[in-house]
Symmetry: C2
Subunit: 340 residues, 2 copies
DNA sequence: GAAATCAATGTGAACGGTCACATCGACCGC
DNA sequence: GCGGTCGATGTGACCGTTCACATTGATTTC
């Protein structure tokens, strides 16, 4: 085996090693690291050269220990497979890095209190200074407030209670837009596939649906409780299509809409001829469904960025704007006027 | 505004605060933290009580500083939107946490050297003890080996050179299975949609395709260079279907297959009647495409778990098995025997 | 019954940074 | 020409752990 580099071994070079080599005090090296204004350029250069030749890397642990600032933000996330959360996480990491923060994520195994405590513990162990919570169940927030967390946190879903922490795409408006689209096409018998029961977003989309229907004085049937998966959409479709007592469906995400489309084809029916379908999210694949899906687009990356801005606002005393982001209807081929 | 909890403020409780309250030395507290064997149960309990009442949390930075072990593994990832990488990351985090390690991820902005250095810097700043590289471009590995990284790393894609680090689903076999399936159905004019040029997986799948075709003495046309997106699959389909000089397509991922299916429908053709299609990955939605997609399943979670096992093997001197995982063909409705 | 062993605990020095303060010329104004 | 200010640098303490070693009694061993 062959090892490259110097084998001076032991620990890595420290600030004092650099100081010795550069012929200055350790404090001077520290000043270089922190861009202290009053430094003679020649000295700084000597220090930089010494760092270079020792392959010096500042020790984060030491710095964190003395400053008690970790410059780390924690993400508590429930299901990173969903398109929305995944996009947001990416944007958050990007924005955090630009602001000089690191990100550590903790996946929730479930939504029971012990899982929440475990995930939170993990983040707190990392000395996260702030939290972004992308765990869209109400009970997660209940658990968090119970634990009387010491760090500021921001959530990506607007909850009922803690308005200051919240930041989100306006789910209710999105659902209303989608529903209105179907109503304007003449549909009056509309089913709604929701997400899992206690998901905040699922709840908000359902409320938007019901509100819009009510505004148009159209009677509604009970929403179908789903689980976000294409499999569920398919099964629900098979079930519902046995009766054909509806002409349109508003699915609260694109995956379930995909499954539903599958069931429609299998029943020998046509979308949008026999049934119109609207989804939610506008995942990249939605444009290529059969037929291409009419859906509601959400700007997740922007959400992630604002999220960090808001959190850093709380952390560093700056301002933070917390308004919501407007969703947008993308009309494709899965919706058509009601056949007379 | 109302704040709960004690406002003793200042810094959080340290090991010495606990020691004082429990009437022992700080070292004894440390022993409790590290499960030292010889301790009187009564003493341990007194310490634990003191911790409880002070809401003591060990300071990770201090521990890392003195032990110079961060118990953190870094993930270098290129595109976390793809289904495969996302699943693997999740499994890695889970496995790492079980082994008592934390995970920090760095997203590659691009594949140019500066982006790689930046991401690597980020991980090294966090004192990652080991790296998992899920950046499937050859040039990323070239850059990494150039940088003479001091930490062990494992990759999820089998590269040509560094066999010890590699761990992967056997892409070549997977591609051969998919191709063989089409050949056995009687197809002889088969197009192949590949992933982006320098992606290791794309390359391996292409090699598998070519090898199988060659084994059957079937002439091949040049593979179509794609970019993994459904949009590309759609555009490629529109283009290719103008000539109809083929009866089957092997797409190197499911998204492109989805787009291709879209183009098939739009051309008024039928899948699998007029053209058979096989995908790769078996994303959860593939079962609901129109028609449900025949594809190659990869066990990503298992991959992630083994990945951590392998890395920890290098880190802690244990063993680590690095064999590959066999992929599996999932036959659905997008493939049919060649029409006579 | 004295030496040796061992379980249980304590003492002080690291680890690698930053902070508060001290020092020491050079320059400035009157 | 002398006190004051300021730029550039040095000194020593400290952050919260663990580590190496020391110190107790109590128990065992012959």
């Amino acid at each position: 085996m062959h090892v490259t580099g110097d084998v001076t071994s032991g620990r890595a070079a420290s600030i004092r090693d650099v100081a010795r080599l550069a012929g200055v005090s350790h404090q001077t090296v520290s000043r270089v690291l922190n861009d202290h204004p009053s430094m003679r350029p020649a000295t700084r250069q000597r220090v930089l050269d010494a760092m270079e030749s020792l392959q010096y890397r500042p020790n984060r642990a030491a710095r964190v220990l003395v400053t008690s600032r970790s410059r780390t933000i924690g993400i508590l996330i429930f299901n990173r497979f969903h398109y929305g959360p995944a996009s947001s996480v990416l944007a958050i990491e990007e924005a955090a890095r630009i602001a000089g923060y690191s990100v550590v994520t903790a996946n929730l195994r479930g939504t029971d209190p012990s899982a929440i405590v475990e995930a939170l513990d993990h983040l707190l162990d990392q000395a996260a200074e702030g939290l972004v919570v992308i765990a869209p169940q109400q009970r997660v927030f209940d658990a968090i407030s119970t634990l009387s967390i010491r760090v500021p946190y921001v959530t990506l879903q607007s909850t009922e209670h803690e308005e200051t922490h919240a930041l989100s795409v306006d789910q209710i408006t999105g659902a209303r837009i989608a529903t209105r689209h179907l109503l304007e096409l003449g549909h009056r018998s509309i089913y709604h596939l929701t997400g899992p029961q206690d998901w905040i977003e699922a709840e908000a989309r359902m409320r938007g649906f019901l509100a819009e229907m009510s505004d148009w004085d159209v009677p509604t049937t009970a929403p179908i409780l789903g689980d976000w998966t294409a499999d569920f959409g398919y099964r629900a479709g098979r079930e519902l299509l046995r009766y054909r007592d509806f002409t349109a469906v508003f699915s609260s995400n694109d995956q379930m809409a995909l499954g539903f489309l599958h069931a429609v084809r299998e029943a020998g029916l046509d979308c949008p001829g026999d049934v119109s379908i609207v989804g939610f999210d506008d995942i990249p694949e939605a444009a290529h469904f059969a037929p291409p899906l009419t859906t509601v687009r959400q700007d997740f990356p922007e959400l992630g960025r604002r999220c960090v801005a808001l959190l850093l606002g709380q952390l560093e005393g700056g301002e933070g704007y917390s308004n919501t982001i407007a969703p947008e209807l993308v009309v494709r081929a899965s919706t058509a006027p009601l056949r007379p």
